[in-house]
């Protein structure tokens, strides 16, 4: 009974927020957009927040999110250019900054983008030309399956809108910075990005989530990335909010024929983080690299939920996720691959490797293969281990002290992921952040916790 009561109270605060929001949301005069939001909100009300009884949420308890009365942020957060400056990414002329979910033109620079490229605020685009958005916005994200996507869609307001025209090669990355500011009451933001890359174009996108000041905050972001035929695209997600932050993000990739997309996720911050990556290989010959690194410490919880759908023949997907967990942090890797009936000659690979640096750190790794085609190659494997004593001694025997040797080995482990990223300003930034993050991991006893049995647990299957 009390559960039901709590649930209705929680949803009550969302109902209030949604009612207010509906009055001022951009594009409410557009029937399709209004319906998109209302249907999504109805879905959210219908199912509520998931519990650990839900298979997709078995290892991640979101009751802390469910029980907090989040408010939509008030406008007029005081942020200064000096506060934003350290986050600027050199080598990216186009930088869009979002403060508490809303586009902040004063901190953004669009730069001189080549002809055929549009980059700006989604809210502006909704006001400017809503009809043109109808074809893509909300068409890919599954609000039925994922309630956080439903919630994001219900409160769909602003985020980045990027359109890369046919045949355009954009060499510099488009950098999207999402800032959450300190506030007295817990706030929630629902950044929504729509990125459309037309046929034969090439581009790189970075989403970077940061906190300015403390306070409980919930970022529930969603990105729909439409990769047209023969596109070559890279998407980076960097999560480095403070540990009072809840961050749920969903990257939904729609890949056309021979589209080649790389998704790189780097989770360093946040208290409770859920990183959903959902590529649909819809066109023949599409290829997807799903690369990730998560480094947890203290009580951080980092959940990576991969859902890779092979819907056409001759597509390839390669998932590589490495986790480093210290303190009593907890990691999750859920790698789901669905090979649809017609997706013959699918080549899907999945590897999850983890280092546990303390007794209390924990990882749950779960492959889930659903194969409905008969001529496919799917492999998956996971390892869980500690820092190798032999490697540590080897480095120390050459004069490198224990703490430095440990950091070197951790960095080497992280490098497996970093090396899949194209050299350039984004990778350099990520390398810096990873290095910084590894500095916070205290030098402890090598292979702590597992004592004499410090050989790595290991399992690998080929199916």
């Amino acid at each position: 009974m009390s559960n039901v009561a709590t649930t209705s109270r929680e949803l009550g605060s969302y109902l209030e927020a949604f009612t207010d929001f509906s009055k001022r949301a951009p594009g409410q005069d557009q029937g399709w957009l209004r319906k998109l939001r209302e249907d999504a909100f109805a879905r959210f009300c219908e199912v509520g927040f998931p519990t650990t009884h839900d298979e997709d949420w078995r290892f991640t308890n979101v009751s802390a999110i469910a029980q907090t009365a989040f408010q939509l942020p008030q406008t007029g957060a005081s942020v200064t250019a000096e506060q934003i400056e350290p986050y600027q990414l050199n080598g990216a002329p186009c930088q869009l900054v979002f403060v508490n979910g809303k586009f902040a033109a004063e901190f953004s620079t669009v730069g001189s983008l080549p002809k055929g490229v549009t980059a700006g605020s989604l809210a502006d685009e909704i006001r400017r030309d809503p009809k043109a958005l109808e074809r893509h916005l909300g068409r890919y994200l599954n609000t039925q399956r994922d309630v956080f996507c439903a919630l994001n869609t219900a409160f769909l307001e602003d985020g980045a809108y990027v359109h890369i025209g046919r045949g355009v090669v954009l060499e510099e990355p488009i950098y999207l910075l999402f800032v959450t500011t300190a506030s007295d009451a817990p706030i929630m933001t629902h950044p929504r990005n729509l990125i459309i890359a037309e046929e034969n174009s090439q581009a790189t996108f970075v989403e970077d989530y940061v906190s300015l000041g403390g306070g409980v905050a919930f970022s529930n972001a969603a990105t729909e990335l439409v990769a047209g035929e023969h596109t070559v695209l890279s998407h980076y997600l960097i999560e480095r909010e403070h540990t009072d932050a809840y961050n749920v993000s969903t990257l939904r990739l729609q890949q056309g024929r021979s589209a080649n997309v790389a998704s790189h996720s780097v989770l360093l911050g946040g208290g409770l983080v859920r990183n959903n990556v959902h590529p649909v290989l819809a066109g023949e010959g599409a290829d997807c690299l799903i690369n990730g690194l998560f480094i947890g410490n203290g009580g951080q919880h980092m959940d990576n939920y991969m859902l890779v759908e092979h819907a056409s023949p001759h597509c390839g997907s390669r998932q590589f996720y490495n986790g480093i967990l210290d303190g009593h942090s907890r990691g999750v890797f859920h790698g789901r691959i669905i090979v649809h009936k017609d997706a013959q000659k699918t080549d899907a690979k999945q590897t999850n490797r983890n280092l546990l640096l303390s007794d209390d750190a924990q990882i749950d790794t779960k492959p889930q293969l659903e194969i409905y085609a008969d001529d496919v190659k799917c492999t998956h494997g996971a390892t869980i281990g500690q820092i190798e004593e032999d490697e540590l001694f080897y480095l120390r025997s050459r004069g490198i002290d224990q703490a430095a040797a440990r950091r070197l080995l951790l960095f080497a482990f992280a490098s497996e992921c970093l090396e899949r990223m194209k050299p350039g300003p984004v990778r350099s930034r990520i390398e810096e952040l990873v290095n910084e993050s590894l500095f916070h991991i205290k030098p402890g006893r090598p292979g702590a916790g597992k004592g004499e049995h410090d050989r790595a647990m290991h399992w690998e299957e080929v199916g």
């Binding site: 490697e391 001694f393 080897y394 120390r396 960095f411 080497a412 482990f413 090396e419």
Partner: protein
């Protein structure tokens, strides 16, 4: 003062006594060979000197340059000039050979209050030493020992020694698994490092390596004890008569 003085060294591994009272004195400029059958404790001795921590010293002491070597951490011993060429060099994916070795060299230089070397200074020196060991320059940017052939790994050990310029170099079965050509290359590399300031301990099962690295002294280790010492001719005699000869003599 001797460079290394081992007195009555007893060492246990998991409650099993491996070294049962070793006495050995090594002076700068000398090359000593330690020979012995498998399981006699040769590698244990080498690793204890390099300060591997999973050994339990129950008795005795080791003075290195007059300092208590057994009180040192592995990195301290290395910075003080002790070097172990591993019998089984460890693969470290994700760290390039050049980066690893520059980090090591700079750690040692820092310990000695010398300036650290940047990549500009390091790389030419590194390439020169690689040439000495007839190593492919491509191995410079490959991960440490990863995917190296057996011979490349052993050469890489000697390369590290050439860069770090230790005072006491311990070569643990550096000859194992090497064909005669690779053996000559490794021996040339080692011989280039012989000098009046440096001592070497060559641990080997077979005498062949000693044709190329000619020792001043040969010690035979059997069941955790040095049962016989002599000059280089002892190695030949062992080759001829086999270890059973000294083992019998030791038990007689």
């Amino acid at each position: 003062m001797a460079l290394l003085e081992i007195r009555n060294l007893h060492v246990k591994v998991e409650n099993h006594e491996i070294l049962k009272g070793i006495d050995l004195t090594i002076n700068a400029g000398e090359v000593h060979s330690i020979m012995g059958p498998n399981g006699s404790g040769k590698s244990t001795l080498a690793q204890v000197l390099a300060r591997r921590e999973n050994f339990q010293v129950t008795q005795g002491e080791v003075l290195y340059n007059g300092k208590d070597l057994l009180a040192m951490k592995p990195e301290e011993a290395a910075c003080e000039g002790v070097f172990l060429a591993f019998q089984y060099p460890v693969e470290i994916p994700g760290i390039s050979n050049a980066y690893f070795l520059r980090s090591a060299l700079n750690a040692v230089r820092k310990y000695r209050s010398e300036d650290e070397l940047d990549a500009m200074d390091f790389i030419p020196m590194f390439k020169k030493k690689m040439k000495l060991l007839d190593m492919d320059e491509k191995l410079m940017n490959r991960s440490v020992n990863e995917g190296f052939s057996g011979g490349e790994k052993k050469r890489n050990e000697i390369l590290q020694m050439a860069v770090l310029e230790p005072k006491l170099a311990i070569l643990d079965e550096t000859d194992s698994g090497l064909d005669i050509d690779a053996l000559k290359v490794v021996a040339n590399g080692v011989n280039a490092l012989r000098g009046p300031e440096r001592a070497m301990v060559v641990v080997t099962h077979y005498q062949r390596l000693l044709n190329y690295i000619v020792p001043d002294f040969v010690h035979v280790l059997v069941d955790g004890r040095i049962v016989k010492s002599g000059g280089k001719e002892l190695a030949l005699e062992l080759e001829d008569k086999g270890y059973s000869w000294v083992e019998e003599e030791a038990t007689a």
